[in-house]
């Protein structure tokens, strides 16, 4: 499969290898790639199941990172303490 993918890419002057595709993914996920890089990456992804899987795993990772806020939620007593400090600041 990898050999097949490589053969396919050799025929296309604008093709990129997996290492370059992975390096472009952060920009891709930020929608920050220029048109040429985006087309190159999307062309690579369409032909490479490994890089597609890696991108999917990055998306799962970002999903988990986005839920980290549920891990250390603030106890309501801490909110009360800070509001008490706020009250003192306003009185100053």
């Amino acid at each position: 499969m990898i050999a097949f993918v490589r053969r396919r890419f050799r025929r296309r002057p604008d093709a990129i290898v997996c290492r370059d595709a992975v390096a472009l993914m952060a920009g891709y996920l930020d929608d920050a790639l220029d048109a040429r890089d985006r087309v190159r990456l999307e062309g690579h992804l369409a032909a490479c199941p490994h890089c597609s899987e890696h991108l999917a795993q990055l998306r799962v990772t970002i999903g988990a990172l986005g839920r980290v806020d549920v891990v250390d939620a603030l106890p309501e007593e801490a909110v009360d303490d800070l509001v008490a400090v706020y009250r003192r600041w306003l009185a100053d």
Binding site: I2, V5, R6, V17, C18, R19, D20, V22, A23, M25, A26, G27, D30, A32, H50, C51, E53, H54, A56, Q57, L58, R59, V60, T61, I62, G63, A64, L65, G66, R67, V68, D69, V70, V71, D72, A73, L74, A78, V79, L82, V83, V85, Y86, R87, W89, L90
Partner: protein
């Protein structure tokens, strides 16, 4: 697209309400902001200063600066971005990094790829099995622990970007990074967290 615009309008309306509340000394508005952001601010400040006690001071200083400076908030960024700008500034000042730009050191050549740049050992597929919100929530405690194990700059970037969801440009500016370096650090951090989550899922 329309949904994104709706969400942004909703966030701006919330911001306007909170700002108006703070300007009149409304305790409920302050409490709402604290509930929303305090734990995250402590997390980010700790990642910059390396000590929980110093972080608590930095966060309290930040709240005071927000309360005193709310008249100057012009709404050019979201209230959250403004708040984290103040926080990161103060945290970096506390550890003497306010002028120094963040640097990106070279990491060893990526051994996941062969000499031709193809996968040396292709990713083991698991994304299909875990692609939903509940699983993201189940993985969150592991992600939290894995973040703590990252090198300083990677940890700060990934906390601000992926945990807090702040825009790339603002995060680069806060940490004194170029857009390119911000992206490299984010990429490395995500790659390490991905590998850590995979190890815990025991798919290999």
């Amino acid at each position: 697209m329309l949904v994104a615009i709706d969400l942004r309008c909703a966030a701006m309306a919330d911001d306007a309400e909170l700002v108006a509340g703070l300007r009149t000394g409304d305790e409920a508005a302050f409490a709402a902001l604290v509930r929303e952001h305090h734990a995250a601010m402590v997390r980010v400040a700790t990642s910059v200063v390396g000590s929980r006690a110093v972080a608590d001071e930095v966060v309290q200083d930040t709240w005071l600066a927000v309360v005193r400076g709310i008249e100057r908030f012009e709404g050019r960024s979201s209230l959250k971005t403004w708040l984290f700008h103040i926080l990161v500034n103060r945290a970096r000042t506390a550890v003497g990094k306010e002028r120094r730009s963040g640097t990106v050191t070279a990491e060893g050549l990526d051994d996941r790829f062969d000499a031709a740049g193809a996968w040396a050992s292709p990713p083991v597929p698991w994304s299909d099995e875990v692609d939903d919100r509940l699983v993201a929530e189940r993985l969150a405690p592991s992600a939290r622990r894995l973040i703590d194990e990252l090198p300083d700059m990677q940890r700060q970037v990934v906390l601000l970007r992926d945990v807090e969801g702040l825009p790339a440009d603002d995060v680069a500016e806060m940490l004194g990074l170029t857009a390119g370096n911000q992206r490299v650090l984010l990429h490395r951090a995500r790659t390490r967290v991905r590998a850590g989550l995979e190890a815990e899922m025991d798919v290999r």
